[in-house]
Assembly symmetry: C2
Homo-oligomer: 479 residues x 2
């Protein structure tokens, strides 16, 4: 059986990605326009992503619930920007139970309206606040150009929707979540992200502030990897979410919403993957270590498999997500390539000589060839493998951070700006005008990514119009 | 603030149930016909149900994945019984992205067809089998008469879909899952169920064998609480799921599907609840123990809260899902009733005298009043609470089993049968004819629930027609 191969990552990044998603069995195309099937290997990764975020949300007082998949079309008409933003993307149910519906329903593209409707029923008093509910599920947006994980008609996510008494509390919530997203990206996904607020033209439809985390892919394009929105009282007014404050006065709530979706999987693939396939961060990898036994004769097989079984048991008991590849119809070399394609962080090889020497060979996925290989005593295998997983996790973040930083530049003028965004990100002064932003996009295809909060104060000249500017913005071509 | 009250369970069971679901904040009616919102308290229960089942499925080799919410309408036309069964219940998407679709899509009512389509792409060889995939999510069936949790247009479930090389293996899988469902019901939900196969008229559309677990509610009606289906090669032929066997011959797969849905929550409510509200089995309860501090003066408050905080910390560290109710705007009595409504298994009361005596009062939810109250030393609180939780879990199962067994009878003749099914279940000989089954349903509203595999051999006379019968069947009025 021959191993699968990929186009070179640097030759054709787009095709490398598409084929890698399929060949690693992360996902497949579904027989419905723009939809995907997330296969078990991809879903196991999503479960690990979800488990960490879910635990973090619960630690910070959030609870989960389930709201309907179908939303009355009329709900979208209650918030002006929201309806304009989502109308072109809606899938509409017109018939149910064999009859035409009196009121059309849409498959939710996002659930601010449904949460808003229910919150107006549930919230009465300041004592009911804050309400901090998260929903895990999928939503549907009729996309024209789709790409597995990055942009599909149906995608998987959590959507948090919170209601607060004051603007201050709601904005704190927006930032608290953004911090959780940043922490997740750095510590779990090993992806260095830049957080900040979006410009007005890039705001979520209906939001007063949209903030995001932005990640650099291997092709230097930017990916918005998570968003957190502050709505002010917009949705509270549209859906009549009011509460009696401590003075018995009726007040509108202030609300937020936020999400990380299955496109995070796309980010992990595009940031860490290489010509051999996926490179998964150990903390999220469905399989952290794979054991490949190597033998020629039956006699060798007995001794090798005995050691392999024992090591498997020890690693499993120590909490390592380990797999023993005991397939008998493919060669060890095939297995090496196969698990490289799937991005398993550590490979453990055991052959007859290892059995004799009570040792094993470890190969780390992030450093191909001899450089990433080490030989360890079986007696030390558990701590060695755990240490290696930690080392790989740190190394991936460091490598991605260096890569990102090497491709972000501060342009002195617009000509340099154009050169920079052709193959990287520009961190540039911007006057705040939507016109300059639009012109830049038109002329360079680079869009504003986000405006970081923690930038040094000061003033400069807008990279486009030269007028005074008080903030710097990241510009990049984006997915 | 006044506590909420319920209609008596024995006066108006249906209204008792409806109000209990709302007042305990398990779920609410959604502004979409027949749909519900599962509120955080109800969803936390569902998460506990899901976590146990998910772990059990993974232990038995199953993996999770995600398939599209929308399915082409044409897929349903490939299996004759399946299309007949589901056509009247479909919600149909006719427009997407502002345009009329060339091919209509339906919001999935179940996913055999979509899994079938993908399995035909993925499965090539006997080495690929079995394929054991579970999807957690929701489905939609346009129901006319709905009831929260028991029958809603959209409901939450897992759907397992498996493909096997042989009929034997597929049937074993069907039974393996049915055993897991039974184990879950008994050990986790404290609901004694009867498992068996369905008659032909009650089969799932497209199945060769449907098996189920059947539970008795407090009103003696039956609830089908989980199903496991064996399809033979029906879906494999409809979707061309074929594999090369060891002799290189093309064979059709044998498939199964199975599910437990959020109606299990309805079963837990209807089996265990009482006039005061929910009674949740400890192993699934979102909150297993609630601490209610009792004090009058500020001085008392300090000492009581200090003890309450300490006990809270100890129980939490010991893995008990515990809540400290420190609300300052309601009385202890209000809190008692409030947590009784929500079915928290154990209440821990701490007042000034308890602080002095280094004791606490425990009240068990399943035994109201003095009978269920005990006083324990604070030093023993953790083991006492844990022991009590176990005792409540066992007691609930025992009580439900006794109740069920007291309401199942073996009728000697059809007159007695009619009396029995007016208020219980009948375990009766049946000749196997669909005609007798239909007549019984017409005349008594009782339907066949299931045919247990482990019934004593022998023969009798059909309870309806008197002809020879070789099997006994459970009959009951059902939800």
């Amino acid at each position: 059986m021959a191993n699968k191969t990929l186009p070179g990552r640097d030759e054709d990044f787009s095709e490398w990605y598409n084929q890698l998603v399929i060949q690693s069995e992360m996902a497949d195309y579904a027989p419905v326009r723009g939809c995907m099937v997330v296969r078990p290997y991809g879903w196991a990764l999503w479960e690990n992503i979800s488990a960490w975020l879910d635990a973090e949300f619960k630690k910070t007082g959030h609870v989960n619930a389930a709201f309907p998949t179908l939303i009355p079309l009329s709900f979208f008409e209650k918030e002006k920007e929201h309806v304009e933003g989502f109308s072109p993307q809606l899938a509409v149910v017109t018939h149910g139970g064999g009859e035409e519906l009196e009121e059309k329903l849409v498959v939710r593209p996002t659930s601010e309206t449904m949460f808003g409707y229910m919150y107006s029923k549930w919230i009465k008093s300041w004592r009911d606040l804050p309400v901090l509910i998260v929903q895990w599920g999928s939503v549907l947006r009729w996309e024209l150009r789709t790409k597995l994980f990055l942009r599909t008609a149906e995608f998987y996510w959590h959507e948090g929707h919170t209601a607060h008494a004051t603007a201050e509390e709601a904005q704190e919530e927006m930032l608290r979540i953004l911090d959780i997203y940043e922490k997740f990206s750095h510590e779990e996904a090993a992806i260095p992200v830049i957080k900040g607020r979006k410009t007005d033209s890039e705001r979520f439809p209906g939001a007063q502030i949209t903030s995001s985390i932005e990640a650099m892919m291997w092709d230097r394009r930017a990916l918005q990897a998570g968003t957190s929105h502050y709505f002010g009282p917009n949705f509270a007014k549209a859906f009549d979410i009011q509460y009696l404050d401590r003075n018995n006065t009726l007040q509108y709530c202030e609300t937020t919403s936020w999400a990380i979706s299955s496109r995070m999987i796309g980010a992990i693939i595009m940031v860490h993957g290489d010509d051999q396939g996926l490179v998964l961060p150990p903390r999220l990898a469905p399989i952290q270590a794979v054991i490949v036994p190597i033998f020629r004769s039956d006699a060798e097989q007995g001794a090798v498999m005995e050691a392999a079984d024992r090591i498997f048991g020890e690693l499993k008991a120590a909490g390592v997500r380990v797999k023993l590849d005991d397939r008998d119809n493919v060669s060890p070399g095939f297995k090496f390539n196969d698990w490289e394609m799937r991005g398993v962080p550590v490979r453990i090889e055991i052959g007859p000589r290892d059995v004799e020497n009570r040792s094993a060979a470890l190969a780390r996925r992030d450093r191909p060839g001899k450089e990433g290989k080490s030989f360890v005593a079986q007696a030390n295998l558990v701590p060695e493998v755990k240490g290696l997983l930690d080392a790989i996790q740190s190394s991936l973040l460091q490598r991605a951070t260096e890569y990102r930083d090497a491709h972000i530049h501060e342009p002195a003028g617009y000509d340099e700006f154009k050169q920079i965004v052709a193959d990287g990100w520009a961190y540039a002064w911007w006057c705040g005008s939507a016109e300059c932003e639009a012109k830049i996009k038109e002329e360079t295809r680079a869009t504003t990514r986000c405006i970081p909060a923690d930038q040094p104060e000061g003033h400069g000249s807008c990279i486009y119009c030269g007028q005074p500017a008080s903030e710097r913005v990241y510009f990049a071509r984006a997915y």
